[in-house]
Symmetry: C2
Subunit: 254 residues, 2 copies
Amino acid sequence: MQNNGRSCERSLRPRDAKNLNLPRKLVMQAQHSHNLPTPSVQRLPSYLRLIKSVRECGETAISCTRIAEEFGQTSVQVRKDLAITGITGRPKIGYQIADLVEAIEEFLGWNVTTHAFLVGVGNLGSAILNYEGFASHGLNVVDVFDANPKLLGTVVNGRVIRPVADIPERAKTLREKTGKTLDMGVITAPAHAAQSVADLLVKAGARAIWNYAPIQLELPDDVVCENVKLSESFAVLTNRMRMRRHRVSDRAQS
Amino acid sequence: MQNNGRSCERSLRPRDAKNLNLPRKLVMQAQHSHNLPTPSVQRLPSYLRLIKSVRECGETAISCTRIAEEFGQTSVQVRKDLAITGITGRPKIGYQIADLVEAIEEFLGWNVTTHAFLVGVGNLGSAILNYEGFASHGLNVVDVFDANPKLLGTVVNGRVIRPVADIPERAKTLREKTGKTLDMGVITAPAHAAQSVADLLVKAGARAIWNYAPIQLELPDDVVCENVKLSESFAVLTNRMRMRRHRVSDRAQS
DNA sequence: TAGATTGTTAATCGATTAACAATC
DNA sequence: TAGATTGTTAATCGATTAACAATC
C-alpha cells in the first residue's frame, strides 16, 4: 500500500493509520464496536465489479451518483460505503478508479492471497472451484477433499481429489514445502459431515471457515466463520411472491 | 432495485389479516412501512430446519430459548421473528412443533409449489437441481435450459437440457398441458447472458427471478427479484480476517 | 463563476434489546 | 404455588437519509 499524497495520516493514530488505512473516526469507533458496518462491507463487491467494468471502458474516474444509479441506491449511501475503505474523492470529479479499486481490494483483503482447502467436491464445490471470480478475490484453493472413495484421485480444475483424512498431512505439506499457512477452509460438504470437517480444518490451522453447509458450526472463538445460506434469499423471494399473490387477489375482489 | 425494500407495495387493509395469516399489529404496521422485516424473514429458514430436526427426535413442542441457544441469539428476537408468521405459543410450554412448521411454511410460501425454469446448467445450476432441500421448499424445476449446444439433449436430474430459445414454447406447453403458470425463473447463467435470459423468462410469464448472476437486472416493477451474491459473504470473511491479522500484529507490537 | 459533487453532522427510520406483565 | 416462558411496550442501538458547507 502506497501513500499517494491524498492520505489522511495526520488524522490517524500512527500505527493503525498505516495498517488499516481507515479514517480516524472509524478507527475510534472500531476500538469499541470491533466491527465495521457489515451492510457496507457487503455492498463493496458489487461496487468493485461495476468500477472495474467501467475501467474497461477507458474511464479513469467515477462518481457516487453513477454507482448509486446502477444499484438503485442513494449517492450518500455509496459515499458512506466507500468512506470505510479510507478512499477520498474530489468534488465535481469523483473518485480515481485506480485508487478506488486498490482501496476496496485492500480493505476487503483481496489484494492478499487466501490459501484454502475445499472439502466436498459436489456440484457446489465444483462451482466455486470453476468460478474465476474468486481467484480475482485472492482465493487460492490449494487442495480439495471429498469423502466419496469413488472420487479420490479424480482431477477437478487441476486439483487431485484427496480423502478427508489427508487434511492434516496436506496442511503440514503446505507449511513445510511452501512456507504458506492454511488461511481458510471452504465447506461444501453435506450438513451431516460439516462439523467433523470443520474440526479437522481448524485442527489443521485454518483461521477462517466459509461454510455452505446448512448447519450452525461450533468453532473456537478465534476462528472467523461466514455461513452461506441459499435458503435465505429463496425465503425472501417466495414470501414476497405470496404477499403479492394475496394483494393481487385482494385487488381483484374489491 | 427490487430488493432494496423500496419497491412501494400497496398498503394492506384489515381484511388482509386473514389472508396473510398475520397478527393485526403487523398488518397495521405494514400499512406504513410497506414491508415485513427482511432480517426476520431471512432467519426463518434456519429455525425451520432446526424445528424439523427436533421433530425427528419425537419432540412435539419447542421454546424460543431452545432455538435462540442453537443460533447464539436472544430468545426475544426469535419470538419476534416467529410472531410475523402469526403463530402463538403457550407460556412455559413453547410452541407446538406441528403448528410452527405449518405457520412458517405457509408464511414463506413453501406449502405451495413454485414452478420454475432454470437457465444455465453449469455446476451452480446442477447444484440447485440436485439439492433436495429446495424441493422441500416447494421448488419444482419444470425445465432446464442452456446456451451450450453440446449440452442440449443431455439429462440432468431427470430433465432434458433444452436451448434457451425454447423458453417461450415450453412456457406455453406448461400452461396448456398442465394448466400451471410459470412462477419463477432461476438464472444460473453467466453474467453476460443474464439480462437476455431474464427478458425471455419475464416474457414467458415468470413473476419472480432468482438471480445468481453477478449483475443488476433491469426488470418490470411487478416482477420480484432476489440476487444471490456469493461474493458478499466472502467479502465479510476476508475483511474480518484482515482486521484480525492487524489486531493480532498490533497486539504483538505493544 | 455556476453547478456538480464530496465529506460530515444531524435527523430519521428500522431493528434489536430491555423490561415487565400475563399465564400456563 | 413457583418459575419458565410468552407477548408487548419502551428504550437503545445501528444504519440510512436529509441537510448543508466545502471545493473543484
